[in-house]
């Protein structure tokens, strides 16, 4: 298995998988809550929230990375607080790479889930209410199962995006082999070295494979879930 990848390359692949996994998993609950608020909420500042969520999609990734560094760096307000209260350091660590990936992937995740929530008929939720279900129970027993395909699609999309995140990651946590060198950062590094193309090419193939598998898996899972829900 490791024969055709050098330990350094292997490290980059494993790190990327780890970063993407945690980035997706931890942002999922926040993503669902945000998508619900955007789809159903009628509160002041909804458009502002919508704009904030979509900002990483539009801003140059370098800018997002810099903003993360300014906020979560050891001298940033939140960064200093996290370090002094929880001993959690994000800058130049793989955890920071996960944060950067999560922030960059967040708009895609929220979009997919929000579309799913908007497709749920609120009258079904009303019906659940008349059958004795309180608001939280309605969400768990009716809304959540109905938006499951959207959640899965959003999660897989976010995972694929996190695997490929480069700009914000390299700005926020740099490109330290074994620490913060993710798959795209490694490809970039190999391309900077004369004769590094073969190594870069191997990683590119892995990146393409991971993206394809993620895409196919998301298609397959959401179709299976939709078939179960549709009942036809």
């Amino acid at each position: 298995m490791t024969d055709w990848l050098t330990p350094e390359e292997w490290q980059a692949v494993a790190l990327s998988l780890r970063v993407s996994f945690w980035a997706t998993l931890l942002s999922l609950p926040i993503g669902i809550a945000t998508a619900y608020a955007l789809a159903r909420g009628r509160f002041w500042g909804r458009q502002v929230l919508n704009g904030l969520v979509h900002l990483p999609l539009i801003l140059p990734p370098v800018v997002t990375g810099y903003l993360l560094l300014a906020t979560f760096g050891r001298r940033g307000t939140l960064g200093a607080f996290l370090e002094s209260s929880f001993g959690l350091v994000l800058a130049f660590r793989w955890t920071g790479a996960a944060l950067a990936a999560a922030v960059m992937a967040f708009p895609l995740m929220v979009r997919a889930i929000r579309l799913a929530i908007e497709a749920v008929d609120p009258r079904l939720e009303q019906a659940a209410g008349t059958l004795g279900a309180s608001r939280p129970w309605v969400f768990v027993t009716v809304t959540l199962p109905l938006i499951l395909p959207g959640i899965i699609a959003g999660a897989i999309l976010a995972f694929a995006k996190a695997m490929g995140e480069f700009g914000a990651t390299i700005t926020f946590v740099s490109n330290i082999p074994g620490q913060t060198q993710t798959l795209p950062s490694a490809i970039y590094s190999f391309l900077q070295v004369p004769g590094g193309e073969p190594q870069a090419l191997r990683l590119v193939l892995i990146a393409v494979a991971v993206a394809m598998v993620a895409l196919l898996a998301s298609e397959w899972v959401s179709r299976a879930v939709a078939r179960r829900i549709g009942g036809a």
Partner: protein, 368 residues
């Protein structure tokens, strides 16, 4: 348990301002579309917060705007059957039926009983997407019943169905009325449904109650006829099946005499509701002779209501029942009809249409 409702609510140009009581049995809210029926039902369910009003069910206060009380829908224990079934697509029929059980400690209504009552045994493992409109509606009724409601709301549950599906469901609704002790508030704009199901009738027009009272009395009240629709007007009476005769007719006993109808699918002894359209009743002062009509009942005029047009609506007492006859003003004058006058009501044999004969006690068709 009596539901008592008084409401005021504005929707821009339209305003709801009404009060009525729904005693046990089936209370039908009758009115044209746009008369505010669904809003009333939504307020009772708690889905609509009225501007002002008070709603109580038995001793339980559900809503009182003066005391800022508004019990949320999930705490009201009021079942709601929507016009568009609203079954949960991700659950099987069984899952839908048992949904309300997750949120109640009571389980007095057995699943088997409801499944039998509604004839949905063969559907339990299917998903709602694979059901016909009529089947969906029956499952929706079962789902509401199994949530142990203290009141059942039905918002035009038949409106989205074609005539055949309506005919399929009506017998189940009649069984529901006769076998389940839960009071029902039923919204409808079809007088045929009212005639079959209602024990109490509340007529809405433009957000206000124009008539309210026991259904049999109101359907036979000439003053209520304009609100119900002249073409459809007609009294409802109870009849008991006496016997099936050899020539294919069925003899029925009503309080004022006997009727002969083309074979009725009910056992002797069964109690039926029959409906006699006002425009299918002829009146004669003398004992009619040489007529092809089989059904002639002696009657006494109790009231007479002249319309704006050439027609008149006559209310007659037949035994202990009231029936309506729609005749012309000219005939009413010529016959000298006025309260207290005895006459004969000639019911054209077609007047009691088979489709309008409710089956109160016989077994309803099974299966899907």
């Amino acid at each position: 348990m009596t539901l008592s409702v008084s409401l005021r609510h504005g929707f821009g140009s339209f305003a709801l301002d009404l009060a009525f009581e729904a005693p046990p049995g089936v209370t039908v809210l009758f009115g044209r579309s746009g008369s505010g029926k669904t809003s009333v039902v939504n307020a009772v369910a708690g889905l609509l917060r009225p501007d002002a009003g008070r709603i109580s069910l038995g001793d339980t206060l559900l809503c009182d705007t003066t005391r800022r009380i508004h019990v949320p829908p999930h705490r009201r224990r009021i079942g709601y059957v929507f016009q568009d079934a609203r079954l949960f697509p991700h659950l099987t029929v069984r899952g839908n039926l048992l949904y309300g059980r997750w949120f109640t400690q009571r389980a007095t209504v057995p699943l088997d009983h409801v499944v039998d009552l509604l004839g949905i045994g063969a559907l339990l493992d299917r998903r709602p997407g694979a059901l016909s409109g009529g089947e969906k509606q029956r499952v929706a009724i079962g789902r509401a019943l199994l949530a142990e409601p203290r009141l059942l709301l039905m918002d035009e549950p038949l409106a989205a169905l074609d005539e055949a599906r309506k005919a399929e469901i009506l017998p189940y609704l009649e069984r529901l009325r006769d076998e389940v002790a839960v009071p029902v508030l039923y919204v409808s704009h079809a007088l045929a449904e009212v005639a079959r199901l209602a024990t109490t009738l509340v007529v809405l027009e433009g957000g206000r109650v124009t008539h309210a009272g026991p259904a049999a009395a109101l359907l036979a009240d000439p003053a209520a006829v304009p609100a119900l629709g002249i073409r459809e007007a007609g009294a409802v009476l109870e009849a008991r099946v006496v016997r099936h005769e050899a020539d294919g007719l069925t003899q029925l006993a009503v309080s004022g005499g006997t009727l002969l109808l083309p074979r009725v699918a009910a056992e002797p002894g069964a109690l039926l509701r029959i409906r006699i359209h006002a425009q299918d009743v002829m009146l004669s002062r003398a004992q009619p002779e040489g007529l092809s009509a089989l059904n002639i009942l002696p009657a006494v005029v109790t009231s007479l209501r002249q319309g704006d047009g050439p027609g008149a609506m006559v209310q007659l007492r037949c035994g202990s029942d009231l029936i309506l006859a729609r005749i012309t003003r000219r005939s009413a004058t010529a016959l000298g009809l006025e309260p207290g006058v005895a006459c004969h009501a000639v019911l054209k044999s077609v007047a009691v249409a088979q489709g309008d004969v409710g089956r109160a006690t016989d077994a309803a068709p099974r299966g899907g």
